[in-house]
Amino acid sequence: MSVFVLRRVLTLLATLVGASVIIFLVLDALPGNAAQMLMGADASADAVRALTVKLGLDQPLAVRYLQWIKGLLVGDLGNSYVYGTPVASLIAERLVLTIPLAIMSMLITVVLALSAGIYTAANHNKLGDVGVMSLTQIGIALPNFWFAILLVLLFAVRLQWLSAGGFAGWDDGIWPGIKSLLLPSISLAVVQAAILARVTRSAVLEVLREDFVRTARAKGLGRREVLWSHVLRNAMIPVMTVMGLQFANLLAGTIVIENVFYLPGLGRLIFQSIANRDLIVVRNCVMLLAAMVVIVNFVVDVLYAFIDPRIKVHDL
């Protein structure tokens, strides 16, 4: 077990090192210079050069890379070129919104998708199946920002139950924060749930065709019992794989929804930093996302081993 963890952690670290090199090189190759952006287009060449030196951008590539990694290891991500404040606190401010938002919309996604997927598979080709599957088709086709606007119109404008945007923070307690994230997480969850419901349905249907399902029926188990005690656990592997990908996507890919609801999330930070050529922020954000994706995948892999006795933890 400990050997497994060690080996797994080593591969995880190797992946992150690889990711950091790629991130660093790609961002370095980007046209545009942070110093030039900061000083404005009509700044003098001398002033730009002075700022370049001050920011350390004149150092050789390898030196800058090693400095960055050294900083990462001690938790010092440097200061934003644009705001002058530490990148770490900029990111931390955003994470208190982005992580709860991702978790909330993932929870909504899983509840909706598993119930819809299992229901439709159990009622394969019946009216309920066709109905719910048409709904998921619509769910996939809906642009989430448009759906978000509809939600705002209904719950914020018409019913006035929730606010139309902004983030209340966690200082006044958990509930106001959750309330302000409710509409965004539903908007994000609808598409994801529609996709995951279809994955769940086909995974369950596939397992229902397995021989051991017939064996279980031959033992006298009813359809429902077979579904719960024999089918679901077998169907969970593909479902969890997609869930992992979706969670990673919710951490980074929410910029449109953040804009609709005026939320200061990680997505907007990345977007603004790219626009400002605040590459030190971009680099660290992208690195963070890469780390989160790698960790989510690691967690999913470990869960496989818990679910499926054929996958031994040390095989991972």
């Binding site: 064996t215 033992k219 499926d308």
Partner: protein, 337 residues
């Protein structure tokens, strides 16, 4: 009410099954009738697609929902055909059990074998978890699984094919059923294991006084393991009778063809394996007359007009053929007449 000792345990009368296939509706089973007393064994033999597995599944009530079952299936006089699923669930695994062909996929990979063997006990006999576990270990021991007390918590992938088939047998026997249906139980196994598994099944059938329906495409397996046999072709029974009697005097050209097509030990090198020419008819597109007509060496025009009736050719021995006078003159059989 007839005397239970002589009343058949299971009585199938004019069973028909219509399936919806990708090629349209197909009459997978037609006019199958037989009765089986307690302790009797019956073999069903035929090629893939002849309707033997569908017959078995219809006795288990496990056909797809879209299947249309006609005729009657009685267990101790009680009608099972078209029985609601909830009622059927009380019989399956309890009074009627089934062993399937593929031991590698017939067990759920996510549950321990102990759990899977205990499941019918917990369900039908309402055993406690501890009781069911003890009984599962005893059953696994009876079917010859080595070290059952320890291996009861192992998962299917930790066993060989033969061992897994022993586990499915233990599962099927858990509630001491009256009828055991074994659908090609050894087809997927190594030849060396086949004999052991068949011997185990035969011992258990005798020991517990069960009736058994053994399905196989292998005439050798049928010859050695059952008292009576039915040969199926194209969804109908083409020949039926006591096993010895059928092997002594095979009446149907199809049975004879199957018998000639078996590989023989000691055949001269280079001898070609005999085959039955042509292919099995599509069940969705069966001919009007005898289903075997297109492949039969003895076919005459009359064979194609209507499904031939069953003809008595010996004690309890019937053949669905109008040309038994010719076919039986050839005297094909394994045993001397």
């Amino acid at each position: 009410m007839a005397d239970p000792a002589t009343m058949p345990l299971i009585e199938v009368d004019n069973l028909g099954v219509r399936l919806n296939t990708s090629r349209g509706p197909a009459q997978a089973v037609r006019d199958v009738s037989f009765a089986l007393k307690r302790g009797e064994t019956l073999g069903l033999v035929g090629e893939s697609g002849c309707g033997k597995s569908v017959t078995a599944l219809s006795l288990m009530g496990l056909l797809p929902d879209s299947a249309i079952v006609t005729g009657s299936v009685r267990l101790d006089g009680r009608q099972l055909a078209r029985l609601p699923d909830a009622d059927y669930c009380k019989l399956r695994g309890n009074r009627i059990s089934m062993i399937f062909q593929e031991p590698m996929t017939a067990l759920n990979p996510m549950h321990t074998i102990g759990h899977q063997v205990a499941e019918p006990l917990r369900r039908h006999k309402k055993y406690s978890a501890a009781q069911a576990r003890r009984e599962a270990i005893a059953l696994l021991d009876r079917v010859g699984l080595p070290d059952p007390a320890r291996r009861v918590d192992a998962y299917p992938h930790q066993f060989s094919g033969g061992q897994r088939q022993r586990v499915t047998i233990a599962m099927a026997l858990a509630c001491e059923p009256d009828l055991l249906i074994a659908d090609e139980p050894t087809t997927a196994l190594d030849v060396t294991i086949q004999g052991q598994i068949l011997d185990l099944i035969a011992d258990l059938v005798e020991e517990r006084g069960m009736s058994m329906i053994l399905i196989s495409h292998d005439l050798g397996v049928i010859a050695e393991n059952v008292q009576r046999m039915m040969v199926m072709y194209g969804g109908t029974v083409v020949e039926s009778g006591p096993t010895d009697e059928v092997f002594r005097r095979m009446g149907h050209p199809y049975t004879q063809g199957l018998f000639r097509a078996r590989p023989k030990l000691g055949a001269r090198k280079g001898t070609r394996l005999k085959t039955i020419s042509g292919t099995v008819p599509e069940l969705a597109d069966l001919p009007m007359g005898c289903t075997f007509a297109d492949r039969c060496p003895l076919v005459i025009d009359e064979c194609r007009t209507a499904l031939p009736p069953m003809v008595d050719v010996g004690p309890g021995h019937v053949v669905r053929c109008i040309r038994t006078d010719v076919s039986m003159a050839a005297n094909v059989g394994a045993l001397p007449a």
